[in-house]
């Protein structure tokens, strides 16, 4: 069944069990990875991938079971021990200090010394060598990390891992914040690593990447091992079915029966702020419009402009046919808008507050008179979204990503918005929760609401949108019909297809 049976596993875990507060999150997992292999680890959020990664990385100890590394049993009690041994983890949250330089970050905790003092020159040279080794010498080792793009920071993370002479690198959602082109670079780097015999454990929600990169795929569900197979023996459909017990056909729900496209609800005419310009679009009742574009093309800035966070300085906006001037988020909420923001932890939720408080966040601050009637609606809205929490008073930081996102949705649904803006609504959440988000969008459309969705995931844009708008370099450059091909969207998003008659962009490329 498995490929490369002749190769000895470099890392092998068996019978791993782990409980938190009496809840078993891992129930006897066996998992191994071989030199030069990319081993994909998939499962819904809460399936136990992160916990397994943390046990391998030495962040948490396992309750039961063994970790064998290069033939010997190891008990790492601190991530640094595992790193020094050559097991390095690139965590989902960046572990870089934005105020320090690339070299300082790479060698944090083990700065090279000469005569008792930090040898800065050696630190910079070695970092430059590691970067050059990966073919990314355009990153300056002395640049402040905070000045780098997200993709460059991701590369620095990998360089940091390599500086430990890693034999096993585990990556947790390494592409969550990358655009397609940057993902390609990451692919190339991973292939270079495996060709050197480094073993890679790859965790991702993006199934395309799993199939592109991995040699074997291990599926976890509810803390238990479902299967480990060679990639060639699996299909996407089968993979999804095993992850959630549901097939991919139902991945993107169809429009609800009787959804009709009606009057324009939101019209923008030549709108622009410091980040986007000349944006004209019409959003009709019952319509789901997708916005595609590369990372940094101004997608988030566009919805933030509409929502009054960075108000448009130019152009005109009409809501339900009446001219509207939205200059603050508060005004936007009053005008019937809702924005499910990109970063739910920083912008969507008060993590230390309860599910109830978070659900009522907007109502209390903008429509305080409606607080008590809304308070009574909360349980209904939460259960319709199928949020699993220990109760209304549980702090949201203890919920999984998918459930947190549902709390954000509940917060906005309570305001009864007419125009709903979604910014990366399914980032970092599990397949089940994704489906719930899609279904909610369809339901909103069926109720005659207008939906605008920004997403980096092209299948999502294609699968959900009635129309697809493509942004490039701060401007809308194309409008494509539903079901357009990925390459058409990408062509417009990368600027390969010249934007309509505008010449503003011509000089830049």
């Amino acid at each position: 069944m498995t490929a490369a049976v002749d190769t000895q596993a470099v890392l092998e875990v068996s019978g791993i069990r782990k409980s938190f507060f009496g809840v078993e999150v891992l129930t006897g997992i066996d998992f191994d990875v071989r030199p030069g292999e990319v081993h994909g680890l998939v499962g819904e959020n809460g399936a136990g991938k992160s916990t397994l990664m943390k046990i391998i990385a030495g962040v948490q100890p396992a309750d039961e079971g063994t970790v064998r590394y290069r033939g010997a049993e190891v008990h790492h009690t601190h991530p640094r021990q595992a790193m020094d041994d050559g097991i390095v983890t690139v965590f989902q949250e960046f572990t870089l200090l934005p105020e320090r330089t690339v070299a300082q970050n790479v060698y944090l905790g083990r700065e090279p010394r000469r005569g008792g003092f930090v040898d800065r020159r050696a630190m910079v040279t070695r970092t430059a060598e590691l970067l050059a080794d990966l073919g990314v010498s355009f990153i300056d080792p002395q640049a402040r990390v905070g000045s780098l793009t997200v993709a460059e920071q991701q590369i620095v993370e990998i360089v940091k891992a390599l500086s430990f002479d890693a034999r096993v690198i585990s990556m947790d959602e390494p592409t969550a914040a990358l655009s397609d082109r940057e993902v390609e670079l990451l692919y190339a780097i991973i292939r270079r690593l495996t060709s050197r015999g480094v073993a890679v454990i790859y965790v991702s929600h993006r199934l395309k990447e799993i199939f592109d990169l991995c040699d074997r795929i291990t599926i976890l569900k509810d803390g238990a091992l479902v299967s480990t197979d060679a990639t060639a023996d699996l299909t996407t459909d089968e993979l999804v079915r095993r992850m959630v017990g549901r097939s991919i056909q139902s991945y993107f729900p169809d429009a609800v029966e009787g959804t009709a496209v009606g009057e324009p609800r939101l019209e923008l005419e030549g709108c622009g702020n410091a980040f986007v310009d000349e944006v004209s679009l019409t959003l009709r009742a019952g319509e789901i419009v997708g916005i595609a574009g590369l990372q940094g093309s101004g997608r988030t800035e566009l919805v933030e402009g509409i929502f009054g966070i960075d108000p448009f300085a130019r152009g005109s906006m009409r809501v339900d046919g009446a001219p509207a001037r939205i200059t603050s988020a508060r005004a936007a909420v009053r005008a019937g808008l809702a924005l499910v923001s990109e970063d739910r932890k920083a912008q969507g939720l008060a993590l230390g507050q309860s599910v109830l408080d978070n659900s009522l966040l907007v109502i209390r601050s903008v429509f305080s008179a409606r607080t008590s009637p809304s308070r009574r609606e909360v349980p209904g809205v939460l259960s319709s979204l199928e949020i699993s929490s220990r109760g209304l008073d549980q702090e949201v930081r203890f919920l999984s990503g998918g459930n947190q996102q549902k709390v954000v949705l509940a917060k906005w649904l309570l305001t009864q918005p007419q125009i709903v803006l979604f910014d990366e609504p399914t980032r970092g959440i599990d397949v089940g929760a994704k489906y719930a988000v899609y279904q909610l969008m369809r339901d909103l459309a069926a109720q005659g609401k207008a939906v605008l969705m920004v997403s980096s995931e092209l299948p999502e844009v294609i699968g959900m949108s009635d129309r697809i708008l493509v942004m490039h370099d701060g401007e809308l450059v194309a409008e494509l019909p539903a079901g357009s091909a990925e390459h058409e969207i990408l062509g417009a998003a990368t600027g390969a297809i010249p934007p309509h008659d505008e010449t503003t962009d011509g000089g830049a490329r």
């Binding site: 105020e99 320090r100 944090l108």
Partner: protein, 360 residues
């Protein structure tokens, strides 16, 4: 490709120069010379005590903590030194040593409370400060001890217009700058202050740097106390409180561009902050401004300077379009990186293909 960012130390220097120019003009209007040797000596003298405290405070603030106990440490230090010396020059080395050791001990207690008991630095040092104040009040009823003339020289002499105390302060600032930039402890202090979790995951032991910062902070407060004792000739149980050194040193540190949340800042910024406050003080005393108004001006300067920094910090994205829709060059970082990234990706793809074939 080089992404330039104006260093906050440069901004501090700018504000300092501005303060000097404005001060010189104001002083000139009342017919005095701001840059006279006497006035420069006054300013530098005013800087040295607060400068010493601010150097220590910078270390603690970089580690995302605070030290409010410095005022009492200063008073205690001046008393200890003066009583141990008791007018005998032979006792000076012992007095200095004992004083600084006691101060280091207080710093160690502060550091342990903050790191081991995990009490917020603000509260921990406030508590330790109150304990010290109680000890001072119950044991001393007023000035005590006697500082011998030899030790008083430190506070009274100078090289040209530059007081010896300022030279000591600057020399120690250089040492601390070296500590921060050239040693692991320094690098780890920045890391712990920037994000303790990241530091821990990177294998940094998070307690020692912060404990070291607290110890050094108290030692620097002790040095400030020694300097005050040398100037006054006696030890005083209230000399620290009178100077308001705890809050003023934090203000100077923040004025110098050090992030109160930790992880960013520099010693020279703090010295710059101290200099700005000293210049403002000097201008007002030369112009004989009402002493109450002095505090108002100080307050305005501190708030205004920090407001400038936070305005800078809020800008998270570079604008792509200027007013009226003109293109400003946009997100240079992403743009500049893009072709190189693409090139690197395609090059890597080429080189790794053959290697891939050899893979199992």
């Amino acid at each position: 490709m080089k992404r330039v960012r104006i260093d906050s130390t440069v901004i501090v220097l700018g504000i300092l120069i501005l303060a000097l120019i404005v001060g010189a003009i104001l002083v000139a209007t009342v017919g005095r010379n701001f840059f006279s040797a006497g006035n420069i000596r006054d300013i530098l003298t005013g800087m040295s005590v607060l400068g010493l405290v601010a150097i220590g405070q910078t270390l603690v603030v970089l580690g995302a903590s605070l030290d409010l106990s410095v005022t009492y440490v200063i008073s205690l230090s001046s008393l200890l030194a003066a009583t141990i010396m008791n007018g005998n020059p032979g006792n000076i080395p012992a007095a200095v040593l004992v004083t600084l050791l006691v101060c280091a001990g207080i710093g160690l207690v502060n550091g342990l409370i903050v790191t081991v008991l995990k009490v917020n630095g603000f509260i921990a040092t406030l508590g330790v400060g109150l304990i010290l104040q109680g000890i001072l009040n119950t044991n001393f009823e007023g000035s005590a001890g006697n500082v011998p003339w030899e030790f008083q020289l430190i506070g009274a002499t100078g090289v040209g217009p530059i007081p010896v105390s300022t030279i000591i302060m600057i020399a120690l600032a250089v040492v601390v700058w070296f500590l921060l930039n050239r040693t692991r402890t320094g690098a780890h202090l920045y890391a712990v202050g920037g994000d303790p979790d990241i530091a821990r995951l990177s294998g940094v032991r998070t307690r020692p740097p912060l404990i070291a910062a607290h110890v050094l902070c108290s030692v620097f407060a002790g040095l400030a106390g020694l300097l005050l004792a040398s100037r006054l000739g006696v030890g005083s149980p209230t000399v620290g409180q009178q100077g308001g050194y705890a809050l003023l040193s934090i203000a100077a540190v923040v004025l110098g561009g050090t992030l109160l949340l930790g992880g960013r800042g520099s010693i020279w910024g703090a010295i710059g902050g101290v200099a700005i406050l000293a210049v403002v003080d000097s201008v007002m005393s030369v112009m004989q401004v009402n002493p109450f108004l002095k505090d108002v001006v100080r307050g305005v300067v501190i708030v205004a300077a920090v407001a400038v920094y936070s305005r800078r910090a809020i800008v998270r994205r570079r604008p792509r379009f200027g007013p009226g829709g003109t293109r400003t060059g946009g997100d240079d970082a992403t743009k500049a990186a893009e072709p190189e990234m693409a090139a690197a990706a395609s090059e890597l793809a080429d080189t790794s293909t053959p290697a891939e074939g050899g893979r199992a």
